[in-house]
């Protein structure tokens, strides 16, 4: 009934979620939703709104976490191969 969570499963969840955000394709998906690079989201009013905040978050995660995610994924693949 109580899932046996460990801190390691939390790390796994974080890695998987960040991967999911990072693999969203620009042309095929994000532009259709309204989150493309060419579509200006920068509303400088004092009320950005929930959708603008989500788009900002997605874009910043993709920009910042691309390279570290490569490293982290490689490390976890190697560890899973070695230790199961």
């Amino acid at each position: 009934m109580l899932m046996a969570f460990t801190l390691y499963s939390l790390i796994q969840t974080a890695i998987l979620c960040t991967n999911a955000i990072a693999v969203l394709h620009e042309e095929r998906f994000l532009s259709k939703i309204g989150c493309g690079v060419d579509q200006a989201v920068g509303g400088f009013g004092d009320d950005p709104g929930v959708k603008a905040q989500i788009l900002n978050l997605i874009r910043s995660v993709r920009t910042v976490m691309r390279v570290p995610l490569i490293i982290v994924n490689s490390v976890s693949i190697v560890l899973l191969l070695l230790f199961g």
């Binding site: 009934m1 109580l2 899932m3 046996a4 969570f5 460990t6 801190l7 939390l10 929930v50």
Partner: protein, 328 residues
């Protein structure tokens, strides 16, 4: 050489002032006595800065004062102690002095670097509590209906320490509550013959992970709704940790009086923590006018109200989720 060293030990047997005598004997080489005053001074300064000696000298020889140290002609009374022979070796004394100075340097460096990652000074604020505050806060967590003034007092832009203001969040109660919850969970599992020591670790890490996920979810939703608030992450951690008090009350009454008592007390504590969270968060999240109870229209204020409600409603859900498997 051993004989002279033995003389030194005889003269410098442990005194009652807490200085470690073997380091004192470190000054006592058979080399020129002219070096001895310098060595002695260096050793005393190191001893003085250490504060506490590195180990207890339990050789039990007669305590000699500092005057005795100057007397280099004292009889070899404690030359026979076996442990002293290693400690009176001058090289190991030098090494010990050097090692202790290195250890204090390393401790300084670690303290300086640790402060960058975990704000130790800010954490100290959350643990500045006393018994009266803890008593009042526990009463508030279980019965928040009579309390009138929920505002946190400020003192020149910084919140007052929890010791002086019952509304300020602290980390003492959540920490103690978490540990007590794990112990009570172990007790509950033990009464049902389901206990094993690994289960304690599983419970602890599960509850901890749920706590972290809850704090992250609240942080994310606060970011999405762009609330300009002075709630820090540690504040959110403190608020999320207050539900452990209700959980402990529920589980203990369930253990003592059976299942109906568990459900009743859990219901009472869930309602109490719901009201507590709403009244506390209302002042921090909502805008000024909305916090005073007037109905303010507008999508943003509605969103903030929903956010406060959902944070408060998540507490009873977690309370039930984390304790229902303990009472069967």
């Amino acid at each position: 050489m051993p004989m002279a060293a033995g003389v030194r030990t005889g003269a410098c047997s442990p005194n009652t002032e807490g200085d470690s005598s073997p380091t004192r004997t470190g000054g006592a080489t058979t080399a020129a006595h002219a070096r001895d005053p310098n060595m002695r001074l260096r050793n005393t300064s190191i001893d003085g800065s250490d504060g506490s000696q590195l180990f207890d000298d339990t050789s039990g020889a007669t305590p000699a004062s500092q005057m005795g140290y100057k007397n280099q002609q004292a009889g070899p009374e404690s030359a026979a102690y076996p442990g002293q022979s290693l400690l009176s070796d001058p090289m190991s004394n030098l090494a010990m002095a050097y090692g202790s100075s290195l250890a204090s340097q390393g401790k300084e460096m670690m303290d300086k670097n640790l402060d960058r990652f975990i704000p130790i000074s800010k954490l100290k604020y959350y643990f500045a509590v006393d018994t009266v505050y803890v008593g009042k806060k526990l009463g508030l967590l279980v019965f928040p209906y009579m309390h009138q003034n929920w505002e946190v007092n400020y003192q020149q832009d910084t919140p007052v320490a929890p010791r002086f203001d019952v509304n300020a969040p602290d980390l003492y109660i959540p920490t103690m509550g978490f540990i007590t919850y794990i112990l009570v969970a172990g007790l509950a599992l033990g009464t049902q013959n389901r206990f094993s020591p690994e289960l304690l670790g599983v419970q602890a890490s599960s509850a901890f992970v749920w706590l972290i996920m809850e704090v992250l979810a609240v942080l994310l939703s606060l970011y999405l709704v762009t609330v300009n608030t002075d709630l820090t992450t540690i504040d959110l951690l403190a608020f999320s940790g207050y539900k452990y008090v209700g959980m402990i009350v529920g589980v203990v009454s369930g253990l003592l009086f059976g299942k109906p008592a568990y459900y009743l007390s859990l219901l009472w504590c869930c309602a109490a923590i719901f009201i507590f969270m709403i009244r506390t968060l209302r002042l921090k999240l909502l805008s000024e006018s909305a916090a005073e109870g007037r109905l303010v229209r507008g999508a943003r204020n509605q969103l903030r109200m929903y956010l406060t409600m959902s944070i408060a409603a998540a507490q009873p859900i977690f309370m039930y989720w984390l304790t229902c498997h303990l009472i069967r």
